[in-house]
């Protein structure tokens, strides 16, 4: 096992990793930008090191500085968290060249799954269903017209190198195809430096359902069930839950075994997530794979009892998985609300000093947060300041528990999305579980 790990991240995920390390008796090194010296991950790590100025590009995304920090502190491994360098195959490769263990999948896996077209090809080979459409770059409008006619409208045009909803265009009729195609290509070029796009069948009112998988370096892969992340605003997840309220045991098994098959096919050796669209008839289609730990991993931890970060560290250290698929048991229901430093209804950022802080407590309530009273939320980084997670026997009870926990949560001095979540928890459609990824665009809170 590792003796010392450097955490190449900040905020709640850095704290999450530090906590896992402390419980594993692994020393921790926090890295931080010069404006982040008061951050909680810096205070709670065993060592800390300033790696650059405020802009992420010069600090948290500065591979050279991070590797250098690992070297001067004798860290054996680097945990990239999520975001920043976590899906940067080149960084993972450099770690390897410098003799530092990158806690994540192999650079080859990251490259393969990071390229949406190759990822689609890969999963198709093991039988995972995908939405009809191309798995290759669509070069011309003529080609696009033909494909759209073949698979039928509506279709969606997506950037090959894209993610998070950027560069996507839905086309409902042939009339608007040409404009949308051109726009998608230029957005892809602007956003990702690569104009390549592909076209697939557009799934109406789908749910976003994803499978957590976990592999080791000995060829074992298991899944930890699904998460439903349909509550999204502009493709940003706001609320996640496990299990998915509409998934039948049969579909769960099928989705899980596809996910495991896809991961095994590429010899995937870390934690990861395979995202699916689920339509109203119980059909599901591969969307993409995230080759890192996700923001919403806690809901899976709550229902399985498995500490995903610890297992991820263990498997990076070469240890075999401690669980077989048959050991995995689901208990109860879990919901996570992402609390952002934003206006709760306009979602405009609200950085600033926290002046009054009291998190909720009691049975079934978990808070993953790196803020504290008088901490200053900085404008340079992500607005996620806390994850409030509840666990209860049933979904109904979990919603009630989330409501009361949100009511207890005090964060003063800045605006947060707590009032938004309070309304969602009282929304009839949400309570009935009748939501899809377009829910927030339709609903009036």
């Amino acid at each position: 096992m590792f003796h010392k790990i450097l955490i190449a991240n900040r905020g709640e995920i850095a704290l999450r990793i530090i906590r896992a390390c402390k419980e594993l008796d692994i020393a921790t090194v926090a890295v931080h930008s010069d404006v982040d010296s008061e951050a909680l991950h810096v205070k709670l790590a065993d060592e800390s090191i300033c790696i650059g100025p405020a802009p992420s590009i010069a600090s948290y995304l500065n591979a050279k500085a991070i590797i250098s920090a690992a070297e001067v502190t004798d860290a054996e491994a680097i945990h990239p968290g999520y975001g920043f360098l976590s899906e940067n195959a080149e960084f993972a490769e450099i770690c390897g060249q410098c003799g530092i263990n990158f806690i994540g999948p192999s650079p080859e896996n990251m490259r393969l799954m990071g390229d949406k077209i190759r990822a689609r090809q890969t999963v198709t080979e093991v039988g995972v269903p995908i939405l009809a459409g191309t798995t290759e770059n669509v070069k011309s409008i003529d080609e696009a017209t033909k494909i759209a006619r073949d698979i039928g409208y509506p279709v969606i045009i997506k950037a090959t190198a894209g993610g998070g909803g950027r560069g996507m265009k839905v086309v409902h009729s042939p009339a608007s195809l040409a404009n949308a195609f051109a726009a998608a290509r230029s957005e892809a070029q602007a956003g990702f430096g690569n104009p390549d796009v592909y076209i697939e069948k557009y799934c109406e009112r789908p749910r976003h359902v994803e499978i957590q998988i976990m592999g080791d370096k000995h060829g074992n892969v298991i899944h930890l069930g699904e998460r439903d992340c349909s509550i999204q605003r502009r493709h940003q997840k706001l609320i996640e839950e496990a299990p998915c309220p509409v998934l039948t045991e049969k579909i769960r098994k099928k989705m899980g075994s596809y996910a495991v098959a896809a991961a095994k096919a590429v010899k995937y050796s870390s934690v990861g997530t395979i995202e699916f669209l689920l339509d109203g008839e119980g059909n599901f289609y591969f969307m993409e794979m995230n080759t890192r730990v996700q923001v919403e991993h806690p809901v899976t931890e709550m229902i399985t009892g498995i500490d995903i970060i610890k297992e991820q560290i263990r498997s990076a250290a070469g240890l075999p998985l401690r669980f077989k698929q048959s050991d995995i048991r689901f208990r109860g229901h879990s919901i996570e609300c992402r609390i952002n430093a934003e206006d709760p209804f306009k979602f405009t950022p609200s950085p600033g000093r926290i002046d009054g802080y009291h998190p909720p407590g009691g049975l079934g309530v978990r808070v993953d947060s790196a803020i504290y009273d008088q901490y200053k939320v900085l404008p340079f980084y992500d607005s996620l300041i806390a994850k409030l997670i509840v666990h209860a026997d049933t979904r109904e009870e979990a919603i009630k528990r989330m409501s009361r926990a949100l009511d207890e949560y005090i964060i003063e001095g800045i605006k947060t999305t707590i009032p938004f979540h309070q309304r969602i928890m009282k929304n009839k459609e949400f309570i009935e579980g009748a939501v899809d990824t377009g829910f927030l665009e339709r609903v009036i809170l």
């Binding site: 800390s48 250098s68 001067v72």
Partner: protein
């Protein structure tokens, strides 16, 4: 002081991050406090985490890298490391240090090396100065922005 002066004064104070302003006269006493003064609240979470012994050395924040006598510091400046890495005083283990305390260097002279990812980065003086104190030991890690030399600009 008349009301107009007061108005100007209040504006002066509130436009800054001054938290306390005092002024006596007959003849002069001014106290200005700013930032998060000692009386301050921020005692909440952070201070309880005592720095563990190691990082206190290895990772001292910039503002702690101060000289023992801050009163005379005004005339001195610090040169900080532009990158994180390992600080070396000489180009190789068996050669002489680039500079010693008391050395006078010209703008562009190499002061030290900071090694990062096997690359030796030469740190140069940006102005002519006299080295007053070398704040890090040879082969010690340095952080981004950490003071490594105290110098007197010439």
């Amino acid at each position: 002081m008349d009301i107009k002066d007061l108005k100007t004064l209040i504006k002066l104070v509130t436009d800054t991050d001054i938290t306390e302003f005092e002024m006596e006269s007959e003849d002069e006493k001014i106290v200005i406090k700013r930032g998060r003064g000692q009386e301050v609240v921020h005692m909440a979470a952070p201070p309880a985490y005592a720095a563990s012994p190691q990082p206190a050395q290895a990772a001292a924040p910039i503002e702690n890298a101060e000289t023992p006598a801050p009163t005379v510091e005004d005339k001195f400046e610090t040169i900080t490391s532009p990158i994180v890495g390992t600080f070396y005083r000489s180009p190789s283990p068996d050669s002489d240090p680039y500079v010693e305390s008391g050395s006078v260097v010209e703008s562009g002279d190499v002061l030290c090396i900071v090694e990062a990812m096997k690359l030796m980065n030469e740190i140069e003086a940006e102005f002519k100065c006299r080295i007053i104190e070398i704040l890090k030991e040879n082969a010690e890690p340095v952080e981004f922005g950490e003071a490594v030399f105290r110098v007197e600009r010439l």
